[in-house]
Symmetry: C2
Subunit: 98 residues, 2 copies
């Protein structure tokens, strides 16, 4: 890094500061999202509903692909990310039904 | 679902509406985050910097674990999610350096 100009390092630093702030938004938003999925998990467990709901998941994925397109995000990445989050949620729901 | 009371369905519906709004926040925040990582990718490619930066990644993961803890999110899940996002970013950086 010693041969890089200070300008390059400053620009890199500014981008990283923005990323750190955006990551805080992501984590707190996910915290809020899990509060709702936990409530749904309890509701499902208390009413003998299955942990996963393929119709709802298909709706979410199709909606997120459109949102990703609008937000300039790779729709494939958005789909994979949502699947990653949904799998985590389903694991939590299954634990609640044991 | 026919035997469920309307109240249960209404509560489920309200939680799902909140989740849909939170997912829009997540997608748009990720869109903004990728704008910054793309700029970093160009900066790295133009200055012969390696696509990945293990010190920066270790800092981010440690910071996110603390944030997750504050936000009531499972720190292990936050760590796995950040790794998932970072791997996607590194793939993009590598493509920019070809």
């Amino acid at each position: 890094m010693t041969n890089l100009s200070q300008t390059v390092l400053d620009v890199l630093h500014d981008h990283r500061d923005s990323i750190d702030r955006l990551d805080a938004i992501l984590i707190y938003t996910l915290g809020e999202r899990f509060r709702h999925t936990q409530a749904i998990g309890k509701l499902k467990a208390g009413n003998n509903l299955p942990p996963s709901d393929p119709d709802r998941e298909a709706y979410q994925i199709s909606r997120l692909e459109n949102l990703a397109d609008e937000a300039g995000l790779d729709p494939k990445f958005a789909k994979n990310l949502l699947n990653f989050i949904i799998q985590e949620v389903i694991q939590h729901h299954k634990k609640q039904q044991l």
